[in-house]
């Protein structure tokens, strides 16, 4: 809106003019705050001086206001509106909302009425683009006798009684009233017969019943609240998280909250496995293999082999028959001996379905929490408005420690300075040579990073081939640790290399730096895991033809999980503790090392991927992951408190949480699901162990069962029909995909439409502001003319000789495009018009 404006200053009447009339300086007449505002503005005007052009008295025609202006004549002149105008302005609805209880109650009454009538979105049919129809559409409360506060309160209570309980609670929770008042409102709206109880003399039985029922409902309600409070208090690590949040802020806290989320996922995964697979097989142990079980040496804890091989921990232990069968298979061609009474339990089917179910539940939970987190953190237009968000939302009130608060002050100051610098730099453009250098440096660093990743991948591949070529005998089980150690070393060392490379490229925005680092580390980890998956399913299956390759894969994953934990401990020790000691003693710096949030979160995601990969072959792996996560929590917390400080760069906590849970869902869970599907559908299970030992693929167990059901006859179950026509047929898959695509397209269009609505509404708001200023000025001129014409004000002002009035004239007549507010012109806002 860069229209040229002309400003003309009104050398207004001095306060002595308003002798008989109550003056704006009379506090009982005008709203307090307006008085203060007037005082401030007049002080400003007097001290700082407005940069305005003074208009010639009586001259016409607008002149453009450039940047050179003259100062306001005379410090004794003050801007004064007439008292009538001020009185009207002071009672504007927008001024009173939030000021008085009555206004709040009134506002919420209107809101609840609207809710009841279910008019939630503003109607758009009157929103035109050329005219200013807004005031016509506005439903002004034109009844002059405004209802008393008591009446409004009564009406509000009645409205609340009409709402369903959840909505009523939601509305009460959002009201900006005191707790005591909200409690009163809730009580009043909960007992609909409250008002009438006093008049119920002859009714007899009814008051008692009603009172008893109310008492019961209230008692149950308070019991429920008590339970909720108890559960709230039982949340694990409540005090530890509070400590961490108080000392380090929301950013570091997000890592520990992510850890807690992962614990929940693992517990969710473990429960069905324990209930349907592990527990049942432990109750009906299979016959022991020939030969004695190896004795327990400490090495099993690391390698997972030895004593642990033939236990519920691994796939090979599970039987491929139906457990608890009422009729045991005849041994020597005799009768059917009844062994046990109970439900026959088909182990292969249970194994397949339980693993599938566990994955399905995890998938649904992940997608739900990802979409919930996305909904919380993404907003239309959230990339703009960075300065406002920094100023208003960046102070973390959780931080209570002195040193941490000081750090926060420093961080905010640095962030503001960086934002200003970026804005100024964007105004200046970069030279061609500079741009070329920028692209070259970045290209080189990316090339080096990808080269490192490729090198690591080739190393892992070569080492795995070497391990296949030189098979390890049973006594040398420790040598099996070689491959996991190599993988963990690469996973530990490469991120440090990436960090050194990233120091070469200097990023403008720190958030981008974090994204790039996360991206590179993620690529490395996923590619290494991909190579390992190929190694297991592609090469090991062939190499271990007559042995139990599933057990081997399960043990490999166990080794990876355990060694990952050990290397996390080592990394914490060396990366944080030793670094702090070195930096304090040798380099004599007071700064502690920063807690690397992104790196640590990626470590957690990697560990969880390993667990998901290994669930099919080692059903107890989630339990080990749970133990590992518990230990990691305490280790990291201790190290954090002792050795680290919060990161200096601004960290958008909720945004990054969304990114992390998305990363958990997409490369991590999706990769594990693909691995699982491939293992179940395509790979031939080993013939010597496990629940699928005489089948061609694990999925065949399901097919065999369906065929069995089919043979039993169509009356037994509808499942074969479902299987034949919906699962094996490809048409339903196409149909469902088409439906999903249609739903996605619909949602995209809805979002586009909502964006347009937002633009229109923003324009409407801007128009309303202009209307308001126009009306205020008109009001002011009307009252001024009235005062001029009335006999009181004419004889007392000798200083009115140079009437330069504060007027607002736009480039076009009749369209005041004003950017001022009623009482003053902001000096620094004149420039950018």
């Amino acid at each position: 809106m860069a229209q040229p404006l002309n400003f003309v200053l009104n050398v207004a009447e001095t306060p002595e003019d308003h002798g008989q009339e109550p003056s704006p300086y009379d506090e009982s007449e005008v709203h307090d705050s307006f008085h203060q505002l007037i005082q401030e503005q007049s002080q400003w005007v007097a001290e700082e001086g407005l940069e305005l052009q003074q208009r010639e008295p009586g001259a016409g025609g607008p002149e453009t206001s450039g940047s050179g202006q003259q100062a306001l004549p005379g410090p004794e002149d003050a801007l004064v509106h007439s008292t009538a105008t001020l009185r009207i302005l002071a009672s504007m609805p927008s001024r009173t909302i939030g000021r008085s209880r009555g206004a709040v109650i009134c506002q919420y009454y209107n809101r609840s009425v609207r809710l009841r009538r279910r008019v939630s979105r503003p109607e758009l049919k009157g929103v035109g683009r050329s005219a200013r129809p807004s005031l016509r559409l506005y439903d002004l409360e034109l009844d002059p006798a405004a209802l008393q506060e008591e009446e409004k309160r009564f009406l509000l209570v009645k409205e609340l009684q009409g709402l369903p309980v959840a909505q009523r609670d939601h509305m009460l929770r959002g009201m900006p009233l005191g707790l005591a008042e909200k409690r009163c409102l809730r009580e009043e709206s909960q007992t609909p017969t409250g008002k009438q109880r006093g008049r119920q003399g002859p009714r007899g039985l009814f008051p008692c019943c009603g009172r008893l029922r109310d008492a019961c409902v209230l008692a149950l309600h308070s019991l429920g609240l008590g339970l909720l409070a108890g559960l709230h208090a039982l949340r694990p690590w409540r005090y530890a998280l509070k400590q961490i949040g108080g000392q380090f802020g929301s950013s570091v806290l997000s890592y520990f909250l992510f850890l807690k989320t992962l614990l929940a996922f693992n517990a969710l995964l473990l429960l069905p496995l324990l209930a349907f697979i592990v527990g049942v097989q432990a109750a009906f142990p299979p016959p022991a293999p020939p030969g004695s079980a190896p004795s327990f040496t400490g090495l099993e804890l690391l390698t997972g082999g030895g004593r642990f091989t033939h236990t519920v921990m691994y796939y090979g232990y599970y039987s491929n028959s139906t457990l608890n069968q009422p009729c045991a298979p005849p041994l020597a061609g005799g009768q059917c001996s009844r062994e046990a009474a109970g439900l026959p339990y088909s182990m292969p089917l249970a194994y397949l379905f339980t693993v599938g179910l566990a994955f399905f539940i995890t998938c649904i939970t992940l997608v739900y929490s990802m979409s919930h987190s996305f909904g919380e953190s993404y907003r239309v237009g959230s990339t703009s408005g960075v300065h406002a968000v920094t100023v208003f939302c960046s102070w973390d009130h959780k931080v209570t420690q002195r040193r941490a608060s000081r750090l926060q002050h420093d961080n905010i100051r640095t962030h503001l300075k960086e934002l200003l610098a970026e804005w100024q730099r964007r105004r200046g453009s970069r030279s061609a040579c500079g741009r070329l250098r920028w692209v070259a440096v970045r290209g080189l660093v990316w090339l080096l990073s990808l080269g490192t990743t490729l090198g690591c991948t080739v190393a892992v591949y070569a080492f795995s081939e070497l391990m296949i070529k030189s098979p390890v005998s049973a006594e040398q089980e420790g040598a099996l640790l070689a491959l996991p150690v190599v993988v963990c070393l690469l996973n530990l060392g490469a991120p440090y290399l990436f960090r050194c490379l990233a120091a070469l490229e200097r990023h403008d925005s720190p958030v981008l730096e974090v994204y790039v680092a996360v991206c590179r580390n993620l690529i490395l980890k996923m590619v290494i895991l991909g190579i390992l998956c190929y190694h297991w399913l592609g090469r090991r299956v062939g190499a271990l033809k007559d042995q139990c390759w599933e057990n081997f894969v399960g043990q490999e994953l166990y080794r990876l999980v355990v060694l990952d934990f050990i290397f996390v401990l080592l990394d914490t020790l060396f990366g944080e503790l030793v670094w702090r000691l070195i930096s304090e003693k040798q380099l004599k710096r007071r700064e502690k090392p920063e807690f690397d949030i992104a790196g640590n979160v990626l470590e957690l995601i990697y560990g969880q991927t390993l667990t998901w990969l290994g669930v099919l072959f080692s059903p107890l792996l989630p339990a080990i992951q749970i133990v590992k996560l518990l230990l990691v929590f305490y280790v990291k917390k201790t190290s954090l408190m002792a050795n680290c400080q919060a990161p200096r760069r601004p960290w958008l906590a909720s945004h990054m949480s969304t990114v992390f849970i998305t990363l958990l869902c997409f490369p991590s869970f999706l990769g594990a699901a693909i691995f699982l599907c491939f293992a179940v559908w395509r790979v031939k299970p080993s013939s010597t162990c496990g629940p699928f030992r005489n089948l061609d693929s694990m999925y065949e167990a399901g097919k065999v069962w369906v065929r069995h059901l089919e043979e039993a006859g169509p009356r037994v179950s509808w499942l074969p029909w479902v299987h034949r026509y919906l699962v094996e047929n490809t048409f339903p898959v196409y149909l469902v995909s088409a439906l999903l695509l249609a739903v996605i397209y619909l949602h995209i269009q809805v979002v586009k439409g909502q964006r347009r609505v937002i633009c229109l509404l923003k324009e409407q708001i801007s128009n309303e502001g202009e209307d308001k200023v126009f009306l205020i000025n008109k009001l002011h001129s009307v009252y001024e003319r009235k005062e001029r014409s009335s006999p009181v004000g004419t004889d007392a002002s000798p200083g009115l000789s140079s009437p330069s009035r504060l007027e607002l004239e736009g480039g076009q007549p009749g369209l005041p495009s004003a950017r001022t507010h009623c009482c003053a012109v902001y000096p620094h806002r004149v420039d950018n018009l």
Binding site: R173, L179, G385, H387, H409, H821
Partner: protein, 138 residues
């Protein structure tokens, strides 16, 4: 607080609490606006600053906290006070005014040179971190 005192001097309390808005919070939640809170006011404050309070309620009270002169709008002077308190006065005056100007440019919807409650709430909607920062853990 670690030691066994029962009565704390003003200086001790000041050093313990480092929230730059502590006085404003006390003023906003107290009944007469002078910082003396009754038990009900205290409960109100913790209720609003808890995890369960809805976003609009928090935005309403945050608006009141940042409105230093209690006129129902956040004007440029209020913004300058906020920025100065946030940075402990370590930004130069020019930088402070530049920041205030950018904030008004970004958040002022009806272009009247100051932020109304609606402008503020609209801006808060675009800041998903607000719920987690405007929160005191008990």
């Amino acid at each position: 607080m670690g030691n066994k005192q029962t009565v704390f001097t003003h200086e001790q309390l000041e050093t313990y609490q480092d929230n730059p808005f502590r006085q404003r919070i006390a003023q906003v939640f107290s009944e007469d606006g002078d910082g003396h809170m009754t038990l009900d006011n205290f409960l109100d404050m913790f209720s609003v600053m808890s995890e369960m309070a809805p976003r609009d309620l928090k935005a309403y009270y945050a608006f009141k906290i940042y409105d230093f002169n209690n006129d129902g709008y956040i004007c440029a002077w209020d913004l300058e006070q906020t920025v100065t308190k946030l940075t402990r006065g370590e930004l130069s005056a020019e930088e402070v005014s530049l920041v205030c100007e950018k904030v008004l440019d970004e958040a002022d919807g009806d272009h009247d040179g100051r932020l109304s409650l609606e402008d503020f709430q609209n801006m808060i909607l675009r800041a998903p971190d607000f719920l987690s920062t405007f929160h005191i853990r008990i």
